[in-house]
């Protein structure tokens, strides 16, 4: 009876081993392969050793097999993790159809840590000509449109001004006429990855950050660039 059980366990183990080894040849990149191989081969080998243990019973052979099972269960996933990390750090690319790369993202930083707090704003009733002058003078490309009480009602950028100047005369217009009224606003504790995602879609160059409807800061593409480069600025300057 024990013989049948142990041989069955070993056979199943062999099956898993072969599946795992086919996996390391068929799957597309090192991370997928590691996943397949480590799971299947660890389980397969543990089943083989368990079969041996059942066959040998309580004897030096059986006890050593059990010890080996515990040992492989601990070490094999550990070394696979270390290897995956090493592969990632050494720059091995993910398969092109991999859907997301959680490990590669910028670590948890909130909008509050990145945003510029002294924002240049404009009121909706300012003449558009003044707003144009202000943008050029301050060397910025856009600014939030803010009511006197601090509430955001829109955003005005170079693009809005140029669009408006194509349609009608900017001399007589007010900021209210040209601004984009649907500003996407984020709260200060938003994860910076979400904002980076919005900025990279190409529609916006900057997003206002507001708390309870009041403007508290602004995050531009340049601010995201700053967290991406931080620490290496001096080295690059020397070269």
């Amino acid at each position: 009876m024990t013989e049948i059980i142990s041989y069955t366990a070993i056979t199943i183990g062999m099956f898993f081993n072969i599946v795992g080894c086919i996996g390391i040849n068929r799957l597309p990149d090192v991370y997928n392969r590691l996943q397949a191989a480590t799971k299947c081969v660890t389980m397969g080998t543990c089943l083989i050793l368990l079969g041996i243990m059942i066959h040998a019973g309580i004897s030096p052979l059986g006890i050593k097999a059990l010890l080996c099972v515990v040992f492989i269960l601990v070490t094999s996933p550990t070394s696979a993790h270390a290897l995956a990390r090493g592969a990632y750090k050494s720059g091995v690319k993910l398969w092109k159809k991999s859907c997301c790369d959680q490990y590669g993202k910028v670590s948890l930083i909130n909008a509050h840590d990145v945003m510029k707090k002294d924002v240049i704003t404009v009121s909706p009733d300012t003449p558009l000509q003044d707003a144009v002058d202000l943008l050029v003078e301050m060397k910025i490309t856009g600014m939030p449109v803010v009511e006197p009480d601090g509430g955001i009602i829109g955003i005005i950028s170079e693009k809005d001004m140029i669009d408006y100047s194509n349609k009608s005369n900017i001399k007589t217009a007010k900021v209210r006429d040209a601004m984009s009224a649907k500003a996407t606003v984020f709260s200060p504790d938003t994860d910076i990855n979400i904002i980076a995602g919005v900025l990279s879609t190409g529609k916006f160059r900057r997003v206002p950050i507001a708390e309870n409807g009041k403007l508290v800061g602004i995050v531009s593409r340049r601010d995201i660039m700053h967290i991406l480069t931080s620490g290496k600025k001096k080295e690059a300057g020397k070269k």
Partner: protein, 85 residues
């Protein structure tokens, strides 16, 4: 039955060898070696089953320990800098 076990383990070994040979990146090869190490433990286990001697399991234990340490070292090396540097 034992012959069947040996044959399937040999198939596993050759598949691992194929991956080690083909690469294409250093971590791929390292992974092949890691898996090959575990397959060798299976080999030792089947040998122990065949002969009923327990010293094969000593080899298996030592082999899995050494393969683990080797893999951690390789992974650290990969993290530090690529094999080409």
């Amino acid at each position: 039955m034992i012959t069947f076990f040996y044959i399937s383990l040999l198939v596993c070994c050759s598949l691992c060898m194929w991956r080690i040979g083909r690469g294409p990146t250093p971590p791929d090869r390292a992974m092949g070696i890691d898996i090959l190490g575990i397959i060798v433990v299976g080999f030792c286990a089947v040998s122990a089953l065949e002969t009923g001697r327990d010293f094969y399991m000593n080899i298996a234990l030592a082999w899995s320990l050494l393969s683990f340490i080797g893999m951690i070292a390789l992974a650290k090396h990969l993290e530090g800098k690529g094999f080409d540097e």
